[in-house]
Amino acid sequence: MDNQKESLVQKGKKELDKRFSRLVGLSSSNLCVRCGLCVDACHYIMSDGKDLAVSPVAKAEQVRQVYKKHHDWLSKVFPRWTGAQKLTEEKLKDWREVAYKNCSMCQRCTVNCPLGVDIPAIMGATRSTLSSLDLAPEMLTMLADMAISREENLDAFRNSFVNQIRSMEKELQEKMGDPSATIPVEVQNANFLYVPLSGAHTILPAAHIFNKAKESWTISMYEAANYGIFLQDTARSKKITDRIVNEAKRLGVNEVIITECGHAYSTFRWTAPSWYDEPWPFRVRNLVEVIDEYIQTKRIKVDPEKIKESITLHDSCNLARNSGLIEEPRRILKALVKDIREMSPNKERNICCGGGGGLVANPEWAETRLKAGKPKAEQIKATQAEVVVASCDNCRHQIEELNDHYDLKVKVTGLSEIISEALI
């Protein structure tokens, strides 16, 4: 038993060290002066502020004290002076809560740190270490493995997928009153490959828009979601990305368009290209960017009188603060909504809804997640808007739950859905 414990700790040390990159090293060094300015920038603290262990600096310190023990000169000699501590099995188990449950990796602490300490980089290294030790949340691991197995069993899965799409296509034709409207599958040399999530709400509105724009497109056989990135497990994440990269190459498309999903987009657009030796022969964009282009270039027209309700936009952390899609959704909404009510703060300063970082996928964390979502619920309530537009499916799911939990009395929808309603 002791040997087993020792081996887990030894392995943990090695895995932690493998992830000691320059960013993690810098953020684990004496860069952080523990000034506490990040404390009330975090939605976990904003929600009640009582749990001292969940402030960004406190979460980072729990991991930093181990990194210090191994990498900081003074800490090696006088560990108590700097708070450095040895890695233990208990610590590794505690980190599961620190890095997975009590941090949604929203990066609000980073943009509010006067020094630029990248706490999510430390949390990422921690998540990744735990994942390599099989200490990551089982639900996230299972969802990532299911996505990978979909490619391995593609032949068995293809027919049911095509049948589902054909059924949705009929619905689309009825909605558009156009029997020629299509949801193309595996079309060679289409202009773009659209990668949705599971569920018609990420397929039908987008298909409606693409058909109206007379776009040359084809739908991906795979879902955009990448649960491997929540685990910070590059091997799993890459396998999930590979499916779409290989499909795009096989079909010879010019672009891959990722649906309204924050983590999927930031992974595919910004992180994943670094995992490949060769640059991809296609461009990557988000559906929001495509819709914005269609409206600006008048490829689609929207009825500005159609949407009567007041609307507020929730900036997904992954789309806005992590990917720079800040003005595009606003420009789209301006084309069709008269009463837009901004939350405060917003854009790259937005407050996380509490559902990011994989939290929304894990039912056992629902209570924590809903509590952490309180600042977002208050922001929404303060706008007195009737509709919340969320261009990220995880955010949308979380805000729908916040709506019930905090009795917000709002309708929650996606950007493509609202555009689809107003298309002329």
């Binding site: 320059r22 523990r34 000034c35 300015l37 603290i45 708070g83 509010n112 006067p114 670094s274 003005e327």
Partner: protein, 219 residues
Amino acid sequence: MISESLLHFVEFELQIIALTIFAILYALKIVQLVKLPMPREVAPASGNPAKGVAFSFSTLINPFSMDSTTKHLWRWMEFLIYHLGALSAILATFTLPFAPKMMAYPVRIVFAIFIGLGAIVGISKIIRRLANPHLRYVSVPDDYFSLIAVEIYFIAAAGCLVYFTDGWRFVFFLITALFLVYVPFSKISHYVFWFFARIYLGIRFGRRGILPKKRLQHG
């Protein structure tokens, strides 16, 4: 009584020895840092990394660029006063021995005022660290020691500049030398790492068109 030769040693030779140790330690720390792997983002940029870096550094002088400093404007004022105090004290360690003519009484008093204000802010920092439960929870002995050490350094510097006696000069330069050797080990090192952190953050935010915001096309 401090002999002239001892004062000269403390003001010149000892400072050079301490500065050399300081420089070697930081050089080693920086080498250690840059030897760590740094995954590069290869995705095509949608913004300008150079502008991102410029923006990243501008947060130093623009408290309204971050919610944290907008909300806690006094904390930003404290930062400014405290660091002006530190800058004045550091500058004095060079100007007193190397440009003594410049350090006439009125100039020394101006320096001392900046340092004194920094010392007052330092006391408020110590009180906050003790009083705020979030800060107390994460604080380690080095946090308290560093604040107290800077406080002693400020008092020695101000005392030296105001009274300008051999005794005060000896104390100030001796503390400076000790400080130079301790700083690379302590959290006071943040001012070196800060450059790297703001550059990396600026590159990422700039490339991705987050800050400053990218110019939209197709409009």
